[in-house]
Symmetry: C2
Subunit: 462 residues, 2 copies
């Protein structure tokens, strides 16, 4: 049946004709609750890895579930003599709480209508199962129509991206020769807007810390101890308050030492990009940028570092009221890094900042959750230009070269460990509610994402 | 069998001979999970009320479960022509979380050995089921030995004390004539120490508030919005930090306007009382008073007002890490009041303080949980002196007249609505872990508490 000389259009037509089956396969993957941060879901993570491995084997990849100290990797190869690409995605997803805010079960995917568009609703629909499946389905179309891929492809799918990738470093080191390719393709980023595709060349790094302040040896009754006993909630709040200056900047000493201003050319390009501060914030019910005074929203979310309190808790948080002074209080605090900020130096400065503010009778403990520097991909490589052309062809408008506020540490890892640049090509939208209730992926992102990869593989083969 | 002329010693001996049966009845009450703050336990609250009503009926009280808008009251009467006393206690208990810190089931009471003493371990063992049962068992001993109580007694048992007593005000107003007695007896306080009984004459008031700061319309990904989006965790932490001055005093404007210094006589008496700051704090792993600078621990926990963060929560608080910017963050904040501080004025000043610190794009909502002023009982009444004598007889050392940092709003309610003073007589210990995991009541408190009430009823009858 397969015709090795079939045209690119024939492959694209196959994608269109089989989109329902492609969607059904994505739904099967979305039904697996592969939450990597919660040990209770380890079995589901393994199940997702095994399912993906079988899919790859079905497409003639030499694929296997590869154990790590944590959740396994999935690796598959279909090498060519000349050019080889390494595709990276992750099959793990974020936790789903608060569950009561979901309009349907997070792991029971469904198609819904939203603002006149069809969307796929499920945890992981966008981040990253929907995205990674666009690539696998593009490979499937080539296999069905031509019987072969146009270029050598390896696939690496991680199961711990949402929990700081603790096993990745060792895995890349141990399998560097096997994984090294001409370039990496990563599908975990947004389009510029719903109509403009983009390739991300600038990513923020991340340092994440869990901080616990402890005081008394047990919870106390505020009637009996209130006033005299140190309250960890109060202490933690004061420490958190101390992390930001009144002008919105981060108050940790030395935090901005290695932060650089945008190159003039990039700054100029950004002024031309269609980005509406009011619309971006307005889309989530906000109106004013809350970060560093004098910086645009685009700078605040991509080229400037920041500090966010991702979670905090202490004492009684249930129904009604309990007049307790808790024995401890905790916070999850993360820093987004840019340019050459060193995550280890930032972590040390943060801990020093906190330790200097822990009062008598309190102790502080830290627990680290990953550290990655920011990374920048050269914007002038020939493969990048070819990929931009393919995306522009598919979407009918010029693809953007952009920065992203999120952290995808593997870009830096690929560069340092495998000497390999990455092309960050994704079809998510800023309103996909990733990490939040009712995560969605536009059906158009899925369908045209598959078509986009068909074109990109063709372009990169040339 | 009963002999109306039996001696006081005969009644006390009956208590001793039947202590195991008294304990078994307390265990039955402790097995009822009457948590008033959580609507899920409404059925258990009713069950406790019905059980107590039946116990009172068995002692010839004219008793009934009396409905309110919330959990019911239990009222029983056994009036006399001359002197009548009103006993008050509460059958509801605090929630039990964190459950994992309990060494046994909170509602499966058991006797354990602790520091060489026998203790009753269960939620409510001390606060207030163990305490209220000391009175009921004293009545039972009189009934068994003499066939009658020595003095007229009414009993009022509340089911909402731990959730701010929302129905109490209306109930007292509606039943003022029925409940009015010569004096109220309240068993919900501590002894001075394990060997020294006390009557509390000074109680702090309470204002409790639930505060929620909301910003974006949904949880956001800190990679996409971090820096530009207002983070309610950060805002709430800054507001909490602003509530205290560096010297430990409360920073709400006008907070100290109606606070008075201790009368010279009381201040002198307190200096003579055996109170060891180091030992009091050391018992819970602390070493330094954390409240207003220059005030003793005894002042900080009884005669000075304070502000405590009883709970705070926002964002992701589970296993692992989630780089979210939450849509909202909340705190449960309470103020202990003294002297003539007006709870409504303090609440208004607190809300004004918070509202003045809510930044752009944030909203604040308040939910109130009870308000009660501080109360002071005259220390020179003849009934107080008789009760002190009875307690001194039982414990073999002079009973103390003391203040308490906790809030028992009903003392003020009895005074204002029924024109009735209260005698606060309790047998709890400061290390009873009330409101905390592994709450306990010393077996000696239970046994000698019953004996103490036998003596107090005898003394007040005279």
């Amino acid at each position: 049946m397969a015709n090795p000389a079939a045209s690119l259009d024939a492959v694209l037509s196959h994608v269109d004709a089989n989109i329902d089956a492609s969607l059904e396969r994505l739904f099967t993957l979305l039904r697996i609750a592969s939450i990597s941060t919660d040990p209770a879901y380890a079995g589901e993570c393994l199940k997702a890895a095994e399912w993906l491995t079988n899919e790859l084997k079905g497409l003639d990849f030499d694929a296997a579930v590869r154990p790590t100290a944590g959740h396994p990797m999935v690796v598959g190869h279909q090498r060519a003599a000349d050019r080889n690409l390494l595709f990276y995605g992750h099959y793990d997803v974020q936790p789903v709480d608060p569950l009561e805010l979901w309009t349907s079960e997070p792991f029971e995917p469904r198609i819904a209508e939203e603002d006149g568009r069809k969307v796929i609703l499920a945890r992981g629909a966008s981040d990253d199962k929907g995205q990674l499946m666009t690539f696998i389905e593009a490979c499937r179309a080539y296999k069905a129509v031509r019987g072969a891929l146009p270029v050598g492809v390896s696939v690496l799918l991680e199961g711990e991206e949402e929990s700081g990738s603790p096993s990745l470093d060792a895995f890349l080191t141990a399998n560097a020769e096997e994984l090294k390719s001409d370039i990496a393709l990563i599908c975990d980023t947004d389009m510029w807007d719903t109509r403009t595709p983009s390739i991300i060349t600038m990513l923020r790094g991340l340092v994440a810390e869990n901080v616990t302040i402890a005081a008394a040896s047990r919870d106390l009754h505020s009637g009996m101890y209130g006033g005299a006993a140190r309250n960890p909630n109060q202490v933690l709040a004061e420490i958190i308050a101390s992390l930001r200056n009144p002008d919105g900047s981060v108050a940790v000493e030395g935090f901005y030492d290695d932060v650089e201003e945008l190159p003039e050319t990039v700054a100029e390009q950004w002024k031309r990009l269609p980005f509406d501060d009011k619309a971006y914030l307005g889309g989530v019910g906000l109106s004013e940028p809350a970060g560093e005074a004098g910086r645009s929203v685009l700078e605040q979310i991509t080229s400037r570092p920041t500090c966010e309190i991702n979670g905090m808790w202490g004492g009684y948080t249930g129904e009604g009221f309990k007049t307790v002074i808790p024995a401890k209080a905790s916070a999850k605090i993360s820093f987004r890094l840019v340019a050459s900020q060193d995550p280890h130096k930032i972590r040390a400065a943060f801990r020093k900042h906190v330790e200097a503010r822990v009062p008598a009778d309190c102790t502080v403990t830290f627990h680290e959750h990953g550290a990655s520097p920011a990374s920048v991909v050269p914007a002038d490589g020939p493969l990048l230009q070819k990929a931009l052309g393919a995306l522009s062809d598919e979407w009918g408008r010029e693809a953007a070269v952009a920065g992203s506020g999120g952290s995808i540490p593997i870009v830096g890892d690929f560069k340092r460990k495998l000497g390999m640049d990455s092309l960050l090509i994704g079809f998510a939208q800023t309103d996909d509610r990733i990490h939040s209730p009712n995560e969605k992926y536009n059906l158009e992102s899925y369908h045209r994402g598959i078509r986009s990869w068909v074109r990109v593989l063709d372009a990169l083969a040339g």
